[in-house]
């Protein structure tokens, strides 16, 4: 029973991070139709930059997060101006090819740069994790990892913030309108470039901060980025684009499945779980388990 609860907590906190990753991912796909293959790589970069700030430079964790947000804000603006904007005006097929190829290229070059630079300049052992002390929290007889609870708290706060943003603010409503119909969005006189800038900035900063929280509990390797994009994609396909509650459930399901696989079959098989889950979902119900699916 105790073991089961521990598995659920670590699975849900892991899954919560996946859900967050997936949600930022689907927010940008559903509105701009741009698939950012580099998404997971940005997450890994977020973790790496956080470790550099908080450990190698010895800054306070909160200050590190603030600096991290500034760095990724600048990156997000460059990303939107340099890659997203030139693609937005293209026809559907060109947009598809262009967005996949450009972000795939960006992701691979960022990934290899990080891998190379980390080994050369930071640490010959290319795995980074945060060594911030997190004490186990005991609830009755159950001992829970403190860092996992922090992650869980972060996920809940961010998801609530995203939810309020989409439901209550004008920009959130505009984003939902853009996802419904791009042409309709133009017809009512809204500016798609401004919105795509805001959405990509939000998504990229949220992703980078998620990476920073992730390394509190799980070490990352510079080459984990693309597999993480695939995990985010798995959650998106499971949940349906833009469906926030379902994304949370799907993320948790994937997290628990991975943690149990590591526990019972060995960690080497954990990466296969999300891939197999995705394949099975595609075979059984290609429109996703929850929600209406994509198009």
């Amino acid at each position: 029973m105790t073991r089961a609860l521990e598995l659920v907590v670590s699975g849900v906190s892991l899954g919560g991070i996946y859900a967050l990753l997936a949600f930022a991912f689907s927010l940008t796909i559903s509105t701009t139709r741009i698939l950012n293959v580099a998404h997971g790589v940005l997450f890994v970069w977020g973790g790496a930059v956080f470790v550099i700030f908080s450990q190698k430079l010895g800054l306070h964790p909160v200050l590190s997060i603030v600096l991290l947000s500034v760095v990724f804000f600048l990156f997000a603006v460059a990303f939107e101006r340099g890659i997203v904007r030139p693609l937005l005006g293209r026809s559907a097929h060109r947009l598809l090819v262009g967005s996949i190829m450009a972000t795939f290229g960006l992701g691979l070059s960022m990934e290899s740069t990080l891998g190379y630079a980390w080994v050369t300049y930071v640490d010959p052992y290319p795995v980074f994790s945060s060594s911030l002390a997190m004490f186990p929290v005991t609830l009755g007889t159950v001992a829970l990892s403190g860092s996992r609870l922090v992650i869980l708290g972060f996920v809940l706060v961010t998801v609530t913030a995203f939810h309020l943003f989409l439901q209550k603010t004008f920009l959130g409503k505009a984003a939902r309108a853009m996802a419904q119909s791009f042409d309709g969005f133009l017809v009512i006189g809204l500016n798609p470039y401004r919105l795509s800038l805001i959405l990509f900035t939000l998504a990229i900063i949220a992703t980078a901060i998620s990476g920073a929280f992730y390394v509190l509990a799980v070490p990352l390797n510079p080459y984990d980025g693309l597999p993480l994009t695939l995990k985010a994609f798995t959650v998106v396909v499971l949940a349906g684009v833009g469906n926030l509650p379902a994304t949370l459930v799907a993320g948790a399901v994937l997290g628990i499945a991975e943690v149990s696989t590591s526990q019972f079959l060995g960690t080497i098989w954990a990466p296969a779980v999300s891939l197999t889950v995705l394949f099975l979902v595609l075979v059984v119900k290609p429109t996703g388990l929850f929600g209406k699916g994509l198009q």
């Binding site: 293959v37 996949i100 190829m101 891998g115």
Partner: protein, 314 residues
């Protein structure tokens, strides 16, 4: 005519090349096969297959595993033929089976689905250590090593065959059906074309030469591991080269492959720049996707030159 002269020149090249360059050319032909096969789906069907390397890796692994089986080894020279045929059949079957779940997806969902395929095979190659040797890789028994020159001509032949396949697609009713589905899938269905049938056909015919390239690679190098046979660049480079050369043009893959391989050889073998190769390829892909999305052989600036215009019309 131009094509004939090109092939003839390539066939005579080993007479003057050093053994290093025979190997460089061999690898270029292998890449050309993958690129041409990638273009079957991208250029003709409008589907982005980021898992082209999966077929290459599968072919390489099946042939290596089979040649390490005792009973197969007793067949002597015939063993290679048998192992190759089995590897091609397994890959074709794999492509046909995988086509069903994959083509339930459209657009970028298909692209990501195929990327998942190669990662999944990687996980299996890494973890089924008894069969594949895991991260340490697998060796082809030395008795079955392929002579470098034989490898060169077989790879050249395979590349010509792959281009001939694309040439056929550019002119046949089968290719016309592909292009029709690329243009508008629903309209194609209303004409009585079954998109699923054509997509499966395309994936299978695009998988077999790639698997054969994997077989040649394994027999030529004698060693494969998950990074070499199923690494991300096996999938990235074909799409980069096809995109650079121009998709849907028969000679596009030749252009793309030649340019990337020449730059790669100069940058990494002569200058030995201390840059990770994926950084270089990644940035190239980014630049190509943003600035020459139509590819060189379809860009009006290039085809205005008479020679290139003629090459593009093949």
């Amino acid at each position: 005519m131009i094509a004939l002269i090109g092939v003839l020149v390539l066939a005579l090249l080993p007479l003057v090349l050093s053994s290093t360059f025979v190997l460089v050319m061999f690898l270029s032909f292998v890449w050309l096969v993958l690129t041409a096969n990638y273009d079957v789906l991208d250029g003709f069907l409008g589907q982005i297959n980021l898992g082209q390397g999966a077929f290459f890796g599968l072919g390489a692994y099946v042939v290596t595993i089979l040649l390490n089986v005792g009973t197969v080894q007793t067949l002597g020279r015939f063993a290679v033929v048998l192992a190759t045929l089995v590897a091609l059949a397994v890959t074709a079957l794999f492509a046909a089976v995988m086509a069903f779940p994959l083509f339930r997806l459209r657009g970028f969902y298909f692209a990501i689905g195929t990327l998942i395929l190669i990662f999944l095979l990687q996980v299996f190659a890494l973890n089924l250590t008894a069969l594949t040797g895991g991260a340490y890789g697998a060796y082809v028994p030395p008795a079955f090593f392929m002579n470098a020159l034989v490898g060169y001509y077989l790879a050249l032949g395979l590349a010509v065959l792959s281009l001939a396949l694309n040439y056929y697609l550019a002119r046949s009713t089968l290719g016309l059906a592909f292009r029709c589905i690329k243009g508008d899938e629903d309209a194609a269905r209303s004409l009585g074309l079954d998109p699923m049938k054509y997509k499966i056909t395309a994936l299978v015919i695009a998988s077999v030469p790639s698997a054969a390239a994997g077989v040649l690679f394994a027999l030529n190098s004698g060693f494969i591991d998950p990074g070499i046979a199923l690494g991300v660049e096996r999938s990235l480079l074909p799409s980069l080269m096809a995109l650079l050369g121009g998709t849907g043009v028969v000679l596009g893959p030749v252009f793309g492959t030649a340019i990337v391989r020449i730059i790669e050889t100069v940058v990494f073998h002569y200058l030995r720049l201390p840059v990770p190769s994926m950084l270089f390829f990644g940035i190239t892909l980014l630049v190509v996707a943003l600035f020459i999305p139509e590819g060189l052989l379809k860009s009006p600036r290039i085809t205005r030159v008479k020679l290139f215009g003629k090459l593009a019309s093949y």
